[in-house]
Symmetry: none
Subunit: 309 residues, 5 copies
């Protein structure tokens, strides 16, 4: 594997990290069909925990088997596969070494009734990641939640522990809870703020939702308007999020959100591509489709990020 100039440039933003952390970032950036382009598609499958098994897999029952998703990520030529501890313990025994994996370490679930103090439970550890041969740890924070500060302290400690053993961190930053309105969760200012918090915590890859053009916080709204920051198009909003992550010096990937039509998914991907985002994390829109459709969708996404579609 020859690391490309594009990937070397991205990695130069992580020069204060040890070579192990950079090697694992390189491993993810160089894997799959987008390897070397600086773009990434990651398949995350933790919706079994988040929403329950039937709500996640009944529509495409192959998904009840952990191997299905791991195989799909490999076959589609993605950059990495992210999953919870238990699920990876099953599938890793079949697929180790074939695609970089990310152990998602904490999870919310829909049986809990948390609202304003949205929280997650920590299922795994850094040593689990090493034991399973993973290339990164994954974690979710809910900025704005009454549990948000505690979550930040949890991940701050995990990041330190992980980087000491050469593992980078992929941080899901999803503002919610507290005083945030439902619209506020995906507001332009709020998503950018959440992404910035992830960068400040020392995350190496930041995952956020695609923002809308809503502006939630009055003071922020004023600044957006005074500075005439363009946020009319999805691509412009992506660019603003990227800028909020140390002016593009951290890898930022976007999630597709709820299951939706193929055209909507691809429009999002085009916006991420145009706005300079590093890629997509796409879960439900993959595994709730039949395998062939999912592969086809992923192939089109890859071609968009390659500038071919």
């Amino acid at each position: 594997m020859r690391v490309t100039q594009r990937v070397k440039k991205i990695l130069s933003n992580y020069d204060s990290e040890n070579p192990g952390v950079k090697a694992n970032l390189a491993r993810m950036l160089m894997a799959g069909k987008l390897g070397g382009t600086g773009r990434m598609i990651i398949l995350p499958v933790d919706q079994g925990i988040e929403h329950g098994p039937a709500r996640s897999f009944a529509v495409n029952p192959d998904g009840y088997d952990p191997d299905y998703h791991h195989q799909l990520a490999i076959d589609a030529g993605l950059n990495a596969y992210a999953a919870p501890l238990g699920q990876l313990e099953v599938s890793t025994q079949s697929f180790f070494g074939q695609i970089p994996t990310i152990v998602k370490l904490n999870h919310s679930n829909s049986l809990s009734r948390l609202k304003e103090d949205a929280d997650q439970a920590i299922f795994g550890s850094v040593e689990d990641c090493l034991r399973l041969g993973a290339s990164a740890i994954g974690f979710t924070i809910y900025p704005g939640s009454d549990q948000g500060l505690e979550q930040m302290e949890e991940i701050a400690e995990l990041i330190r522990e992980a980087k000491a053993v050469g593992l980078p961190t992929v941080l899901w930053s999803y503002p919610r809870g507290g005083n945030l309105s439902k619209d506020g969760e995906t507001a332009m200012d709020v998503v950018a703020y959440g992404a910035h918090l992830a960068a400040q915590l020392g995350a190496h890859v930041i995952k956020v939702k695609l923002p809308t053009d809503h502006l939630e916080q009055a003071e922020a709204k004023k600044e957006f308007q005074n500075a005439r920051i363009p946020i009319g198009s999805q691509g412009e909003r992506v660019a603003e999020v990227v800028r909020s992550c140390f002016n593009g010096r951290r890898i930022v990937v976007f999630s597709g959100g709820a299951a939706k039509g193929t055209d909507a998914v691809l429009d999002d991907v085009r916006a991420i591509h145009e706005g300079g985002g590093n890629g997509s994390i796409i879960g439900r829109n993959c595994f709730r489709r039949p395998r062939e459709e999912a592969l086809e969708l992923l192939d089109t996404m890859i071609r968009i990020f390659q500038g071919k579609a």
Copy 2:
């Protein structure tokens, strides 16, 4: 670098500390254009976390890049640059060793809705400071907040840990929360009280806001009046804060607060100088100005502290 008599005198107040702590204090007091005068200007940039990226940087978008601030602090000839973990991990790789750095270890954020129990999340650790080659740890406490006692216990432990490895502590003491009125947060008696708490916790450099002539607590008000403590001018109020920090035997620096006009900023600096404060911590009033204006402002501030303006 020859340590001046003035700095030696200041450091003699820290004789119970080990030589490592004193060496790092000396490093900050001897750096930059004010090196050796016993006065300091520190550039702190953590408003991305505190207020969000757009609200902080949209007005002067160079500030989205962590290198911008670090470079500005060097070019202006300041004594130290203070920033959060993630931001320093990016810029330190370009600027290590060129200006003393302070890793701010905890942060509040404006997505959280904490009010009476104002709190912060701890992002970094003492080992992060050593790993990044920093000269001090930075921390914020909110005396008065329902979380205040817990914060004091957190910093008490961090101070112990840091000084054992030769790192001094810069402590932001900002009374808020609990029963404190909005005016009370910057009341003369409250600011002096907060500064004293920081000194008692073992902080080596104490950062507070400039106090108003409001007196919040009835019992304190009585004493101020009985003793006829002069608090009419800003300089007098600065002197009272300095006196509250072990009669001037701890280094005290003042923050400028919200962005404002150049004249207002310079008036504050003159009052700090006259009142015997050790210097200024100035963030928003720097990085929200264009670079050339910021450099000019900082240069005037330096000349005031040098007694030349």
Copy 3:
């Protein structure tokens, strides 16, 4: 990267290991031009420590620079590059993630006068391997030496520590010292015995020298003769070593020994191939040749292991 059936079969012999260890073995077995064949060529460069810099590199002075060897291993399409700590700290910063690396953790040197109690000094640790993003630890034991038992205890502990964090062990087993004659060091029975000891210690990849047809130990000789074990050809002797490693259920690679002519090197490789060895570790015979000659030699070796030459 699709793991081949051949590699899966090899890895099935390591089923009691955790997925991290197997992922790193897979990484080495799937890398380079021999990736997937179950054969490996590893470039080890620690002769600077073993024999001194001039004796190792003067003949081809590019070798004084650590990057030269790391680059050579990549350009030749090898499976892994093995080197000491200091050397890898230099080259890893240029090449991380481009080829699996093995940190050789202990070393002898020619300034020390140890003979019967041949020993090595431990330069690195398992945490160094993680920090540098390595895929395995490397270690040397001298069975027969008066220090041999202590070395076995050292590596036994390191193997345990390494596998807990997902790192397999490549073990150099070189009988010498004690009562062993010079000829005995490469005797058929002794090499097979040393290989077996490595397997029993839990090594994942075993590296030995190519044995001669000499039989050192009287009791062993008797058994070889009674059982009419064929050891006349190099291929037969390779097969006997492989059989001694749990009947071929551990990966065994052979070193070429002292620098020699191209034909002699290739004869060795053919014997390893025929005897069912997993591959070659070739150091001096690479880096003491000019780069183009070394690349050509390695290419021929690869084609032999591919069954094409």
Copy 4:
């Protein structure tokens, strides 16, 4: 302090280290009159331990006081001052922060009768270095000694511990003991070998003696002759040592050895300069001269390294 391009280039060879280690290297490379040139002069004073107080200081009795040497290093504008624990505990209280310090952690002494197993006792620890505000740890190994392997293991562990807290290592590598002849201790091949071992152990700054043109080891002699490595002049021999330290990618400084005449000292310095060595460590030839003579000598040395004399 603006780090020069020359120093940045040197530091780029240490990119696998954390920013703290690089900041302390920068601190030493940027201090004093040679700051920024990539050249260094370090004053080490541990001869009180090595040879006893009278043998070291009687000739210039100011040297009995630890402050004398620390002050001399500052006044001469050197890059760093290296001394044992007890001595630094006295002088650091007067001079902290005025010049980078190196705590020499182990020492031999002339009351001990060790010969073939030359060894040292460890006086200080990494935490002592932090407590005293030092910029590096210092250590001596005796490659070739029967205690050499154990010493290498000691320093390997200390290097790991030190770099985790941002401290680089200055390693004195002095082959002696075992089978080495007296002439062999400074033989060209042996000095280069010792320097290479220090680099492989992960030392950041390597200190060796100036080699003679003697070649001690038969196999090395053959390689020097075959490759026609020029070693006739001192400058050529310095260049060969530098090449043996990863082709000049580690900082190498040379000691002047026994007290001698000014011309001899300056000839050595010119040879170091011409051969591309990074500088001098000069102890006895400083403190055994009267202060004014020592300052004059150091000033001439500095000018040679500046290319001005």
Copy 5:
């Protein structure tokens, strides 16, 4: 207790230590009849371990009872009482707080047959000292012994541990063993060298034997003669030892050695006083005399150190 200017001056040499260490030094320097003068008399009683009970106490059988010695030290108005762990566990229960105590942590004994590798066994720990309310730890090293380097490593670690909890170290430095001749053990150069080693190890109070005018080491002899260091009188030799301890910046006390006549003891004391030594440690010459005689002797010694006799 008002600390005198004289004691403050002595303590200023320990400014790199924490206030706890300095407070315990002050406690010893301010205790008893010599309190405040900068001079000390310490009663050490560990001869029961060193030479056996009968050889120590039969001549004055009150000495079999630990309380006898502790009481004597108090009644005589001494600065401190030093004893082994077990002995102090008995007497401390009667006398705690009445005189500073020093727990002697290691001991040789006359049943062991060690010669060239003279060594001691460690009986107590730093936590024992705290538990018993002691003011310092005591330890013996034998520079020159084949065990000397190991002993230095032991005490280096204990000093670190002790000072972290505010306990200074009294270090007995008695060269012996190895190649040292019997006369060499008290030779001028050797005693000064041993004292210097103790200072370098970080000892706070250094205890040595009174030196003779013999010069053991040829190289040292040359320096003594070249520099015309006066060593003809005992006072001059004391001064040379004091100078060897960082030019008088460490507290040095002298032992009287074997039991002898009163005049001889007092001559020694006068020499220590004249030479600028900080005091005496006197054991056998006290407790082998009847109590009244011992008290009288100690009183005369005190008066000598007060300049009254």
